[in-house]
């Protein structure tokens, strides 16, 4: 289940690894629950806003591919895994808290 959203639109006001030009994000969900739908919507919105054109989101439905859970050490769902840039980061939850999500993805430095 791959979603490859649109819009390559540069935005270079952020610091750190944001300069990296191909963000590889993987969102693990289990079916279409409210949480997983919310997580995907929140993530898309956030990427559009902060990483236009530099990201790639892959949604993995564990109900269909349970074997993939082991590889990324998935325990909680939904989990967003930043595969690239290194190192791997994990953000769990429905990503409703934008601030924390940005911190988790290191799109914003911790504690300002």
């Amino acid at each position: 289940m791959k979603h490859t959203p649109k819009s390559p639109e540069p935005l270079d006001k952020l610091t750190g690894p944001t300069n990296f030009d191909q963000w590889n994000l993987r969102l693990y969900v289990a079916g279409k629950t409210t949480k997983s739908v919310a997580a995907f919507e929140n993530l898309s919105k956030l990427c559009e806003e902060h990483l236009p054109g530099k990201y790639h989101i892959e949604v993995v439905d564990l109900l269909m591919h349970p074997q993939l859970a082991k590889g990324d050490q998935i325990v909680a769902l939904p989990t967003l895994v930043r595969k690239l840039p290194e190192p791997i980061r994990r953000v769990i939850g429905d990503l409703s808290n934008v601030e924390r999500t940005l911190v988790g993805l290191q799109l914003r430095p911790l504690q300002k």
Binding site: L63, P66, Q67, I74, V75, R89, V91, G104
Partner: protein, 588 residues
């Protein structure tokens, strides 16, 4: 009921159980852990939770043909495999055979950011996938509360754990969940114990420098279980729990008698020796010959070609062999023939239950007909007497149930309290031989008597116990007006008696000779008297003959005279008959 024969639901009355295959645990739990339900194993760090869980899986895979999933939250699969290899579990091999699946769940708080709502569905999916991929019947989660360290939302976690237990039940897997012991509660979260159907608490306690692992079943829904604390230990064969074997006294006893190897002692024991499978206690103060007596009994056992297991807590094999050679027992031969096996350890080497477990293991392995523990009292140094007693009860129960004769020696510190200080085990003992010092006349000697011997008419006598160069001997002690005499005093007394006997014999001989002499004298006297009498008789005869002669002569002369005078015929010839002559004479 007819259908009930196959499958796990064999007895509809009892809760179906999954055997753990762990020594002793199945006995306490009455068959194993509740099948298809979660069991919590909790305890503090290092008490063996993980190990017990792994053994449950390994035994399940190898002995019960039930594959298992191990979900580790604290150690990686490689670490786990390494850790249990020393116990003889080859996890990699089992994994290769699809009998075991190790999944390491890594939850690191610093790598995780939480934003908004989440659940643990990922864990469920992972576990479900693992279970389905090998058809697992058993699951271990070790240690699930690590999640609480990695994730922040406790409320979610608690709710999810509850759901997990439910889910495990629905899956029908027999699960073990391990948990760290919390403050005042069985687990840190105080949750798992309520949602588990069975709770086992492990404990690692140190008392007087000896550590003891213990296990207790706190709850077991729908089943009877032992409620006590049971010591358990971890050795190269995994975990062994030591239940106090049979709760009831149902052992079948033998009425076969076996010799002690000392004929006089057999005689004292109702003439036939001790019962097979009975427990014999040899107690005495230091140096009274307990070990020698025990070795003698061991020797007798080997002579019957029956294996004997000797637990020595004071001497090594070579020392015992050397020492016993001095009393004419060659134990080396039996060692070589493997009829006698010696297990020598210091009592302080490890705790009581380890000793007991070693004993169990060796007995199972060697299958002896006799077990000697020399001495049991050294255990008193390593633990309290109540524990020693409990251990001895277990030991004797175990040996009795196998009809193995148990010979225990016990060191008594003071002769005065010989009967009283036996670690309270006298009631367990069937035959009690008491060795004691008898100090008299400037020397110590050994005395033996039978304090009790169940089921036989035994001697009430004290015997002197001698260690000679051809083994143990029992001698009668001298009991006389001067009391009980032993050793050289007995010998002296015997010599005195011998002399007195000789004296009496001589006196008798002398008397006899006297009488003989008197008889002879009497006879001699009688001879003299008879001779005198005969002489008188002779004299009388002679006189009579002379008289007759004279009479004849007179008559003849008268006849001649008559004839010369031409007188009438008076008599018919010269007859000596006086009668016819008398009238003639009278007429004259």
């Amino acid at each position: 009921m007819n259908k009930a024969k196959s499958g796990h639901k064999a007895t509809p009355l009892a809760l179906p159980k999954a055997g753990t295959g762990i020594n002793g645990l199945d006995e306490i739990t009455g068959g194993g852990l509740p099948r298809g339900r979660p069991t919590l194993i909790c305890g503090s760090a290092g008490c063996g939770k993980t190990l017990l869980a792994i053994e449950f899986l390994v035994r399940g895979a190898t002995e019960f043909d039930e594959p298992g999933v191990f979900m580790a939250f604290e150690e990686t699969a490689e670490e786990l495999a390494q850790n249990v290899r020393s116990l003889g579990f080859d996890l990699e091999q089992l994994a290769a055979e699809n009998k075991l699946l190790l999944d390491y769940v890594h939850v690191e708080r610093s790598e995780i950011e939480e934003t908004g709502e989440y659940d643990l569905e990922g864990l469920f999916i992972r576990l479900g996938h693992a279970i389905d991929s090998i058809g697992a019947k058993r699951v271990v989660l070790d240690t699930i509360e690590t999640l609480f360290g990695g994730l922040g939302d406790t409320a979610v976690l608690r709710a999810e754990l509850r759901r997990l237990f439910r889910w495990l039940k629905d899956k029908g897997v027999t699960a073990i969940i391990t948990g760290e012991r919390g403050d005042g509660t069985l687990t840190r979260q105080g949750l798992e114990e309520y949602v588990s159907d069975c709770v086992i608490v492990l404990d690692h306690r140190v008392s007087e420098q000896y550590s003891t692992r213990r296990l207790r079943i706190v709850k077991y829904r729908g089943s009877l279980h032992g409620t006590n604390e049971y010591p358990f230990l971890i050795d190269e064969n995994g975990i062994s729990v030591l239940p106090i074997t049979s709760v009831g006294l149902r052992q079948v006893v033998s009425s076969e008698r076996i010799s002690t190897g000392i004929p006089r002692l057999d005689t004292m024991l109702g003439g036939k020796g001790m019962y097979r499978g009975s427990s014999v206690l040899i107690s005495g103060t230091a140096g009274t010959g307990k070990t020698s007596l025990a070795a003698n009994i061991a020797n007798a056992s080997c002579l019957r070609s029956e294996r004997c297991l000797y637990f020595a807590f004071e001497e090594s094999e070579s020392q015992l062999t050397r020492d016993m050679r001095s009393i004419g027992l060659d134990l080396a031969v039996w060692f070589k023939k493997d009829l006698l096996r010696l297990h020598a350890t210091r009592p302080s080497a490890y705790g009581l239950e380890m000793h007991l477990a070693t004993l169990h293991k060796l007995v199972t392995e060697f299958e002896p007909r006799m077990v000697i523990v020399d001495p049991i009292t050294t255990f008193l140094g390593t633990s309290t007497s109540a524990e020693t007693e409990a251990m001895l009860v277990r030991l004797l129960d175990f040996l009795k149930s196998l009809q193995i004769t148990a010979i225990l020696t016990s060191l008594v510190h003071s002769a005065n309290t010989a009967e009283g200080s036996q670690a309270g085990i006298s009631s367990l003992i069937d035959t009690w031989l008491l060795l004691r010092d008898i100090e008299l006349g400037g020397e110590r000697n050994r005395g033996l008597h039978i304090l009790k011997s169940r089921g036989m008419a035994h001697s009430n006598q004290v015997r002197e116990f001698l260690l000679t160069d051809h083994g143990v001997e029992l001698k009668d002690v001298y009991i006389g007006p001067e009391g009980v005499l032993t050793g050289s005093m007995r010998l002296a007394q015997e010599a005195r008696e011998q002399a007195a006997r000789l004296d009496r014999q001589q006196e008798f001989d002398r008397r006899q000779r006297d009488v003989e002499r008197k008889r002879l004298a009497l006879e001699a006297q009688m001879g003299v008297l008879r001779a005198q009498f005969e002489a008188e008789e002779d004299e009388l005869k002679r006189l009579l003959t002379g008289e007759q002669l004279a009479a004849n002569t007179e008559r003849e002369s008268k006849v001649n005279m008559a004839r010369s005078r031409q007188a009438d015929e008076l008599a018919q010839g010269p007859g000596t008959r006086p009668r016819p002559t008398r009238p003639q004479r009278a007429r004259k």
